[in-house]
Symmetry: C2
Subunit: 248 residues, 2 copies
């Protein structure tokens, strides 16, 4: 797939670009996804391309939320699938109550099905699609992304969104969901509207999350709930902005 | 071409995205160009999506350089052509000594020819291509982008590069050219290596440059040379970084 030498200083970043371009060629990702990824790259570059302490803190709270949730769902779009399909499959392998639902900004039935099939091929046992005969609408947003699968996001208490637009994030919060966003721009509407914002590159964040969840599975629910109660997302975002500022 | 309402707060930014995606479909721009544009968008967003005073200062020096140069050449790649083909044609219409040369990172003869034809169709009378029978190599860099047209960049004293990679910028400077870079990331190698760096979005920068050149055409060469002598690119870059920091 790649001829990037693995000791190249920007190996991981270049590999992600290849994954996304390959995802575009396979009909998983969109051109808008390439532009959005470039924006994320700029923020990641200013963050030193590593998982920062404020991201680790948000990831630990995410671990607690996913382990204590009644019905957690990960909303996956084309870019997330192309970039982090393997990491999503790994996460589900370690926590089989986490459901995957495909939800697209630029929806076509073919693209949704291709992404679902791609995730199944990577080992995710059950992948829902937002647009289906079992859809219910999320109020106040337009387009195909308003759909929720009745057994998925519609009945979820905790929803993870990655690389998501602000309108949908807001609508999910207003619908009473606890929303965890993975977003490299701490100033974005999504980052500011979510209850928990992981300001980190998605594949790195999901790897750290998987490790955190493996350790947290042994902890009592009270301990995990205490972690949630102490968490302050606004402070996390402020630290992310400060880190970018000092990266300049 | 577009259904973005012109009073949309991000109209210009969305229009540029459309131009670039259309450029990809026409075979002018590359997928890597979409990623790079996304990175630029993030910096432009932090700069408030407007031409800042440090950019205006660099543009005024660029005007002086282009008007006093013996043989100025604008090196145009696929993204620059797709995003700013019209603005490039406008600039040449006002300063016919400025030659246009197509130079591509991801070169194919077909893409190079398509870009040259596209610029000609927009009214640029003479468009050279770096890879041709009249090519000479630029030392120390690899790939097709090392080529320079004998009558173009090879014999130029002043070269404008837009959205350029650091290696080629460095090689041009080492070859004794005065290099003017248009680059939204003031920390990039290109931005730091060029003698004059315009930290601004390309279409805005070229519009301001055209206006500056129209006014400067009446000025004495001594006045323009004085402007060059007083210019400090490092200070301009520091102001750009400070502006991004305060945009956070």
């Amino acid at each position: 797939m790649t001829d990037i030498p693995s000791n190249h200083p920007r190996y991981h970043s270049l590999l992600l670009r290849e994954r996304l371009i390959e995802g575009l060629h396979r009909g998983l990702a969109s051109e808008a996804g390439l532009l959005a990824h470039g924006r994320g790259e700029a923020f990641d570059y200013l963050l030193g391309e590593r998982t920062q302490p404020f991201a680790t803190e948000a990831i630990e709270v995410t671990s607690a939320l996913l382990l204590t949730a009644k019905h957690p769902v990960f909303s996956v779009n084309g870019s997330a699938a192309a970039l982090a399909g393997r990491e999503i499959a790994d996460l589900v392998a370690g926590h089989d109550r986490l459901l995957i639902e495909v939800n697209l900004f630029h929806h076509t039935p073919e693209r949704s099905r291709r992404i679902a099939d791609y995730l199944r091929a990577l080992g995710v046992p059950r992948v829902l699609e937002s647009v289906s005969d079992d859809s219910v609408p999320l109020p106040s947003i337009q387009h195909a992304r308003k759909h929720m699968h009745r057994e998925g996001i519609a009945s979820a208490d905790v929803v993870v969104v990655a690389l998501e637009d602000g309108d949908r994030c807001q609508a999910l919060v207003e619908a009473g969901k606890q929303v965890i966003a993975i977003d490299l721009n701490p100033l974005s509407r999504t980052a500011r509207l979510a209850q928990v914002t992981i300001v980190d590159e998605i594949t790195r964040a999901l790897h750290v999350l998987k490790v955190a969840m493996a350790a947290d599975r042994k902890r009592a629910h009270e301990e995990l709930s205490g972690r949630l109660a102490r968490y302050n997302n606004e402070a996390v975002l402020q630290r992310a902005v400060a880190a970018i500022r000092s990266g300049l």
